[in-house]
């Protein structure tokens, strides 16, 4: 059952990214380009995605457990840490530079050519690099 939910969710996520145009790097960069030819499409995507998710969180509050799992994710502490701020800024800089983030980069793998593949390879390497970086920060703080 968990596998079916995972596969369905991944497939719908990919289709949603394709339909919404978020696999198109120029649309994402157009949204971030507030001093140029601004493209508000991303706001519609984010707004559209938040609607069903907000309903889902309300349902989750009323239920004891998910259909195929033990618990719902606990609310993490709400501290705005340095890692959250710095990490998000680094992420945002790369997002603007190429117009891609993790979800769309995978959704576009089959038609994104060698360029998409190179981006995903570098992204995975960056993800692995974050492990020792977090450990060093944790050890020194």
């Amino acid at each position: 059952m968990r596998g079916l939910f995972s596969l369905t969710s991944g497939a719908l996520f990919g289709l949603g990214l394709l339909i919404s145009g978020m696999v198109d790097t120029s649309r994402v960069q157009g949204w971030l380009d507030i001093f140029g030819d601004w493209d508000p499409t991303l706001a519609f995507v984010l707004g559209g995605a938040i609607l069903p998710m907000a309903v889902a969180w309300r349902i989750a509050e009323k239920r004891k457990a998910p259909i195929a799992g033990a618990t719902f994710p606990a609310r993490p502490n709400q501290k705005i840490t340095k890692d959250l701020a710095i990490g998000s800024m680094i992420f945002g800089a790369g997002w603007g530079l190429a117009g891609l983030c993790p979800g769309p980069s995978f959704a576009a793998l089959s038609f994104g050519g060698w360029e998409g593949l190179l981006f995903v390879g570098a992204m995975i390497f960056g993800m692995i690099l974050a492990v020792p970086a977090k450990r060093i920060r944790f050890a020194t703080s």
Partner: protein, 143 residues
């Protein structure tokens, strides 16, 4: 007149939100792309590797099938500059994992839960993304 891309954006967004709702109410997990992928590649989430692998498989396969079946001309308009691709990939992967989330986890799932961390993260990456485009497009002219 409303641009057609806004309607596609809204419909696609609703499908993305539905995907997140299934992942949450079905498996009790937050649908964050960087978390699901990151947990596979750095070994931190191997206990749930099957869920993660099936999600990633669906994420790659569904758009591939849709493009083939409907004969779509899906454009990524991605840069062909290898230096930019590598630099951007490194920044996106490293930053998302350091922040414990990206546009899907912090943005879609976090904001809809009114999570302060999700809202703050979204503010930070939108700001940095805007500065990045301003710098690399308008000031340096490299993208």
């Amino acid at each position: 007149m409303i641009e057609q891309s806004y309607i596609y954006g809204l419909v696609g967004g609703l499908v993305i939100g539905l995907a997140g709702a299934i992942y949450l109410l079905g498996n009790g997990r937050i649908m964050g792309a960087s978390g699901i992928i990151g947990g596979l590649v750095d070994g931190s989430g191997l206990s749930e590797w099957r869920d993660r692998a099936l999600f990633v498989f669906g994420l790659i396969a569904a758009p591939w099938i849709a493009v083939k079946v409907m004969n779509l001309d899906a454009q990524t308009n991605i840069t062909s500059d290898p230096v930019i691709l590598i630099a951007a990939g490194l920044l996106v992967g490293f930053g998302a994992r350091l922040a414990n989330g990206c546009t899907s986890g912090h943005g879609v799932c976090g904001i809809s839960r009114l999570s302060l961390r999700g809202i703050a993260a979204t503010g930070f990456y939108l700001f940095a993304g805007g500065v990045s485009v301003l710098l690399f497009k308008h000031l340096l002219g490299v993208i």
